[in-house]
Symmetry: C2
Subunit: 433 residues, 2 copies
C-alpha cells in the first residue's frame, strides 16, 4: 500500500480524492432503459433481463413453489446467525420510533409532528459477486417496523434463473411476498413506474453498481424518492501505537474485498503501526479468496502517517468515510469529536463487520463523502414526518395580526385575508355574546 | 372553478394530475450554466446575473454598508410580527432535538445514534414577485438551532442591485453574515461547487422556479445534498356542511395567488358548500392585487363533490397535498386518518397562512405528490444521524460466531477473519490468565 508521510493540509483534498466515474456517460446508457420500461412495461423488463442476466422466464415474480421449503435449505448455523442478526437489528431500529410531541408554541396554537409510514417501498438487492442477504435484512426490517403497507423486492437472478437461497430465506422470515427476479436499471425503472407485474412504489432503497445508482438518481426527477446516492464502499481506520496491527489489517482487507473500486485508509501517528499493517495486509492478501478484487482496491488505498492523533482525526473528518474505526487508547473521547462519518466503530473489539451483519446498526450508509450531509438508513427512512397544527379562536386572535403583517409585506393579500376573515367572524360571535 | 361530481375511483389518477413540465428541456438549459459556474467561478456568476437579473456589481456579497441600519428600515409592526414568528418557529424546531439513546442490543454490544450538524449549508431565497423573507426564517432558524458552522444565503437582486429589506432584516436577526446577491441556477451552482467569493456547501435548501429546482436536482449527481425537489405550491381543503365558505374561499385564493402553476382543491360531500365557495372565490378574486396570477391558477383547480366524507378523505390521501386543511365537525378524528400530506391544518381557525408565517411549523413542504415519501424541512434536515457502536470482549465472544457465519455465506472471508482475529486474541489472553 502507498504510505504517505505528514501530508500538508492543503494537499488533503487531492490526497483523499475518491475514484471518479464518468456519471454523464452512465446516465446516457441508463436513460433509454428507463424510458423503455416506463413505456413498455414487462416486455422491456424481460428484454433487458435476457440481455444482461442471460435469463428468460415466464414469471418475473417468485412463485410459492420456489419459496416452498426454503427454511430447510440453509444450514442451521446460518439460519441461527441470521436470527441473531434479525433480533439485534430489530431492537436497534424499533427504538427509533419517536413519540408524538404536541406543544403549544403560543397559547391556543398547538403544533406537532407525526411519523407516518411510506405506503409503498421498493428494495433492491444486487446479485453480483456476493449474495447480499444482509442488505435485505438492513432494509426489510425497518420497512416492516415502520409499517409500510407494500414492500416489494427486486433482485437479479443468476443465469439459471435462481435467486440465492439466503436471500429467499431472509425474505421469507421478513414475510415479504412480492419478490421479483429483476436486476439493474430495469429493476429500478420497474419499481419507479410500475409494470403489469411490478407495482409502482414511492421510494426505492438499496445498494447497486453505477448503473443502478444512476437509475435511482434519474427516477428522482419523476417524483420517486431514493434512500441515498451510493458509491463504492470505504473505511478509514484511525489507530495509535496501542492498536493491534492484525485487527487493522483484517479491517482494511474486509473493506477492500468488497469491490475493485473500494477504498481503505489507515491514519495513524505511529510509523511502527503503519509498517506492521502494511506487512500484514500484504501477507493476508495472498490467501484471500477474493484476492484479485482486494488487490485492485488496495491500489486506491493509503496508509497515512500524521504528525499527531489530532491531525489524524482532522484528516478523517475531512475524508468523511462511510465507516470509521477508532482503534486508540482514548477511542471514546475521539468518537465524541467525529463530525463526518456514516458509522463509527469504537475500540479494538468492534470490527466493521459487526455492524455489517449483526450488532444491530444499519449498514446502508453514505459513501463517497456523502457522510458530510446524509445519514445512513434508519427507521426514519421508511417514514415521513407530517406536521399538524390546530389553532383555536383565542390563538388566532392572538397571533393573527402578525400573520396579516407578514403576508402584507410579502404582497400576498389573500394570505392576509384568510386570517382577517376569521378574525372578523370571531369578533361577530363575541359581539353577539 | 371546475366542479366535478362523484368522480369514479378509477378516474382519480387523471383527475388529480398536477401540471406537468418538460423537465428534460429545462435540464438542458440549466446544465451549461452549472458547468460554466463550476469551471469559471465568479466570472460566470457575474455574466448570468447581468443576463438574467439585469444587474452588474463589483461585489456579489452584501457589504456591511448595505446592512447598516437595516433594523430601522422596516415598520415596527412588521418587525414585531417577524419576532413573534421567530419565537414560535424557534420553539417548535428546538423541541425536535433528540436525545442520544445508548442501548445494548446484546450484552456487551452498545449502539447509538447521534445528531451532528451539517457543517456547511446554503440557503436559496427567490426574488421574483414576492420577497419571501418568511422562507428565510423557515430555513435559517433550524440551521442556527442545528449549529451549522457555515450558513450562506443566496438571493437574487432587483434590477437596481438591491435585496428587499425584509430579507436583509431577517438575515440580520438570524445573524447570517454571508449573503450573496445571486439568483437562479447560477446561485445553486455557486453554492454546489464554490467560487472565489461563494463558499462550497454540502447541502442546499430553498424554494425556487423550475430552473432552480432542476439545478438543485442536477447538482445531487455531484455529491451535494438538497432539501427536496420542489414543485408548484398546492392546497387541498376538505370540508363538510359545518364549514364557513368564506374561510374556505380565502384559503383557496391564498394558495392560488402564489403562482400561475399553483393548484387548489376543495373536496366536500356538500353541494351547498361547493356552490357557496365557488361564488365567493369568484367574487373575492375580482379585488385581489394578484388577480391575474390567481385566476390562471384557478384554471388548474377543482371543486370535487364526493359521495361521503370518507371518500373525500381518500381522495385527499390519493392526491397527497402539500397543505391539507380539514374544516369539518370531526376534524380531529379525520386528521388521525391522514396518510399523505405535507402539513395538516385542523379546524376552522387554522388557516394555511398561519403555518406559512407564524404558528411555528415549517412551511418548506413536499409538493407535487412528494408528500407520499418526503417530509417537510425540520431540524433533522440540517443534521445527520451518525451511528456509533462499541463492543467489548464479551460482546464479540458472544455474537462473533454469527458474524463469521454470515460473512462466509456472503463469500466475504476478510469480513469473517476480522472477527476471527479478535476471537483468537481474546482466547490467547484468557488462556494466559
Amino acid at each position: 500500500m502507498q504510505i504517505i508521510k505528514n501530508p500538508a493540509r492543503e494537499k488533503w483534498e487531492d490526497l483523499l480524492k475518491r475514484p471518479v466515474f464518468d456519471s454523464a456517460s452512465i446516465q446516457e446508457k441508463v436513460r433509454p432503459i428507463l424510458v423503455d420500461v416506463r413505456d413498455n412495461g414487462d416486455k422491456a423488463v424481460n428484454k433487458y433481463t435476457q440481455q444482461f442476466d442471460g435469463f428468460v422466464s415466464e414469471t418475473l415474480q417468485i412463485t410459492d413453489t420456489e419459496m416452498a421449503g426454503i427454511d430447510q435449505v440453509l444450514d442451521e448455523s446460518l439460519r441461527d446467525a441470521i436470527h441473531l442478526a434479525v433480533n439485534n437489528i430489530t431492537k436497534f431500529h424499533q427504538a427509533q420510533r419517536f413519540e408524538l410531541q404536541k406543544m403549544e408554541t403560543w397559547l391556543g396554537v398547538t403544533c406537532w409532528r407525526k411519523q407516518i409510514p411510506i405506503e409503498k417501498v421498493g428494495l433492491y438487492i444486487p446479485g453480483g459477486t456476493a449474495p447480499l442477504f444482509s442488505s435485505l435484512l438492513m432494509l426489510g426490517i425497518p420497512a416492516m417496523i415502520a409499517g409500510c403497507k407494500e414492500i416489494i423486492l427486486c433482485t437479479p437472478p443468476a443465469k439459471n434463473g435462481k435467486i440465492h437461497p439466503a436471500i429467499l430465506y431472509s425474505a421469507h422470515i421478513l414475510g415479504l411476498e412480492k419478490i421479483y427476479k429483476i436486476g439493474g436499471a430495469q429493476a429500478i425503472a420497474a419499481m419507479a413506474y410500475g409494470t403489469e407485474t411490478v407495482p409502482k412504489v414511492y421510494k426505492i432503497f438499496g445498494p447497486g453498481n453505477q448503473y443502478v445508482t444512476a437509475a435511482k438518481q434519474l427516477v428522482t426527477f419523476d417524483g420517486v424518492a431514493i434512500d441515498m446516492p451510493a458509491g463504492p464502499s470505504e473505511v478509514a481506520v484511525i489507530a495509535d501505537d496501542s492498536a493491534n496491527a492484525e485487527f487493522i489489517a483484517w479491517d482494511l482487507l474486509s473493506q477492500a474485498e468488497h469491490g475493485t473500486d473500494s477504498q481503505v485508509l489507515l491514519v495513524t501517528d505511529s510509523e511502527s503501526i503503519c509498517n506492521q499493517v502494511d506487512a500484514k495486509v500484504n501477507k493476508h492478501l495472498q490467501n484471500l479468496p477474493r484476492k484479485s478484487i482486494a488487490a485492485e482496491a488496495l491500489k486506491n488505498s493509503k496508509l497515512i502517517l500524521a504528525d499527531s492523533m489530532t491531525t489524524a482525526l482532522d484528516i478523517c473528518n475531512h475524508y468523511a468515510p462511510e465507516h470509521l474505526i477508532i482503534n486508540t487508547v482514548n477511542a471514546d473521547e475521539m468518537a465524541k469529536q467525529v463530525i463526518n462519518a456514516g458509522s463509527v466503530f469504537i475500540g479494538p473489539y468492534t470490527p466493521e463487520s459487526a455492524g455489517d451483519y449483526a450488532s444491530g446498526t444499519n449498514h446502508t450508509l453514505p459513501t463517497n463523502g456523502y457522510a458530510r450531509s446524509y445519514s445512513g438508513v434508519s427507521l426514519d427512512s421508511f417514514m415521513k414526518n407530517v406536521t399538524f397544527q390546530k389553532i383555536d379562536a383565542h390563538g388566532i386572535e392572538d397571533i393573527g395580526w402578525a400573520i396579516e403583517e407578514m403576508a402584507k409585506a410579502e404582497s400576498l393579500m389573500a394570505h392576509k385575508n384568510a386570517v382577517t376573515a376569521r378574525l372578523n367572524a370571531i369578533k361577530g360571535v363575541r359581539s353577539n355574546d
